[in-house]
């Protein structure tokens, strides 16, 4: 090995990874950032003008589509996270101790997780069809009138939340179960000897010890939920429905690019979205570090 190569070998070995990061992460983000400062539309190859932060001004003052989309994104993420963590915790606690038929229950719970989100969306779209769907037929058998589900202007978002919770709670169960099984038994034993009830043991022993794992679950699911696209697109199509009833930031940015060909504005929305995700990640990892101390 030549002397030069020997002196720079750490860089030589790191070069492929650095090239990967540069081409697949830094370049697209930088390119999107550049586009967000232009009036690019119609085609990214067409002439465009540098317009500074005009797009950001336009987007941040847009109360018609942008802010409602932000609100829906936050609402969607908050609600599904809350349900998924609470339900996931409950199911993980049930599966924590061995019981008969445990394996079958675990397989059944994991089934939604292995399905493709687009297929899941299309399946639930059929089930929730207001005229011929199974959901309304079931309701009819127990004497409840048909519901609009995905078709309703106000019921569409909660229905998509339900689908997301159905599909992704198992992932939270998996993470929490892994955390639970790694916990030491001694604190539980000590609490039991001290006469603590099940709830007290959970509240004051299990939960605090499990908190770093819970934060990991929230972090992973939170980022995923923030950028949910496939379920929303498969159930409501472009624009998130005729009244944009399930249009989140992701769906909005997609529409700006692929329907409106407004690449400048779309890039602006994506950069703002990117910053939101970075902010949330930073806040959660900061909180996790705090717990670790």
């Amino acid at each position: 090995m030549s002397r030069w190569a020997n002196e720079h070998r750490k860089w030589l070995f790191a070069a492929p990874a650095m090239a990967f990061v540069a081409v697949l992460i830094i370049f697209p983000v930088a390119w999107t950032g550049y586009l967000s400062l232009t009036d690019a539309e119609g085609s990214v190859r067409a002439e465009s003008e540098f317009i500074g932060f005009q797009n950001y001004l336009d987007v941040l003052t847009d109360t018609d589509r942008f802010w409602p989309a932000v609100w829906r994104t936050v609402l969607f993420t908050g609600v599904v996270l809350l349900f998924e963590v609470v339900l996931g915790m409950a199911i993980a606690l049930l599966l924590w101790r061995p019981f008969r038929g445990e394996k079958w229950v675990r397989v059944a719970i994991l089934l939604p997780l292995v399905a493709t989100p687009v297929a899941v969306g299309m399946m639930w779209r059929l089930i929730f069809d207001p005229n011929i769907g199974m959901a309304n037929q079931l309701l009819g058998w127990i004497g409840i009138g048909p519901q609009p589900w995905l078709a309703g202007q106000h019921s569409a978002l909660p229905t998509t939340m339900f689908i997301d919770i159905w599909q992704w709670t198992p992932m939270v169960v998996l993470i929490l179960l892994a955390g639970l099984t790694s916990l030491s038994d001694e604190p539980q034993e000590a609490a039991r000897i001290d006469g603590a009830s099940s709830w007290q043991r959970f509240r004051h022993v299990t939960l605090p010890l499990l908190m770093p794992t819970v934060i990991v679950a929230i972090l992973l699911r939170g980022i995923d939920a923030l950028k949910t696209f496939d379920i929303l697109y498969a159930t409501k199509g472009r624009g998130g429905g005729s009244f944009h009833e399930v249009e989140t930031l992701n769906v909005y940015a997609y529409g700006l690019s692929f329907d409106y060909n407004d690449y400048g504005v779309s890039s602006t929305v994506l950069i703002i979205f990117f910053l939101i995700i970075i902010g949330v990640m930073w806040a959660l990892t900061y909180r996790k570090k705090g717990l670790g101390r």
């Binding site: 990214v44 190859r45 465009s48 207001p130 005229n131 078709a151 005729s242 009244f243």
Partner: protein, 429 residues
Amino acid sequence: MRRRSIIGTSLAVVTAMSLAACGGGDGGGEDSKTVRVTLVNHVWTENIRKALPEFEKQSGLTVDVTQLGEDQLSDQYNVKLNAGSDDLDVMMYRPLQEGKLFAKNKYLADLSERVKSDSAFEIGDFQAGPMQATTYEDNIVGLPIITEQEVLYYRKDLLTKSGFTAPPKTLDELKAQAAKIEADNPGVAGFVARTGKAAAVTQFSSFLFSFGGDFVDSSGKATVNTEQAKQAYAYYGGLLRDHGPENISTDMSWSEAMAIFTQGKAAFYTEANSLYKNATDPTKSKVVDSVGFAAFPAGPAGSKPYNIPSWALGVNDSSENKDNAWKFIQWAAGKEQALAQQTAGVPGARASVWANPAGTASYPKDLAEANTVSTANGVGHDRPLVVKVAQAREIVGQPIVDAITGKDAASSADTANAAFQKFLDDEAK
């Protein structure tokens, strides 16, 4: 200061290189014996695929077909054409939806010379309206292959049961018959049609024209809040609200609306004639024996359905295989295939085929009659003729969904008109 984006070009090159690397095999260059053709899911495509061996034999070329759904096709074009990719040779595209955008971006090769130098292809045989939609700044950038007219689908049995001897000739009669049939047949809607904000615009257009309105006037001003337009919005939305399916959604495109009709859940349905096989095919429809077709009912301004070119074939301007791409189009849009397609139920754009009795012999008799009325009275567009059509459809479609959900269609039309005018002004800059 306007300038060509250097970064844009480098991105295009990087992406094109990656895509080319993924492609492998025959690179599709000038000496290639493979033509890469991207087609949409359509009866036309099914027919052409069956006939491909004949073309491959006579031309010595291999045709590599990519077949996609409408939305996926559109998205793929957006990505690949933006990247300047040369791995698309022939493209099936929608002249009214994306034709202007593609031509403006120079994605479509100018075929004028090739078309004019081939007398057997007979460019003069194409109907003028559809050809106009595939011509940009006097250059022929595509050849129309499928045309559509809006007609009325109806259930003969339900009409007879309610004492009607003929389908409605006017929009007033349509409303009255829908109401009577709905009352006589619990669980069956009087009328069904597209309800999705953007999806409904094309079918609503015939109602708009028949009420005497349009999206834009001759001076280019937005006209979706004229008295005629307001009446059309109120009529279309009201008909669906009052006599549509019980749990009506505002997301229905043709597939959902067609499913309701073909499952026997609706008496009347207004839709493109090119989709009629969905109603007459026993594997797809429960109403095969009772379905009838009629000309679009007349409104205050008469019966004015759209008559448009819905799909065309063009050549990717970045393709290095243009000669072979043209050979494919010569065959696929040629007289022989046009006749074969129309005989198999796909309305085309060639006048000679419409004039040929064999060209219309396979249609149900009442549909052929309805088609004749539509082509005679038809309007050459079914959506605003702008560059950003998807955005325009959303704007002018808002009063439709507002009317369906019981909101004030007139004030919604006023709001939509202001937004549409702003959109037109922005696009004119």
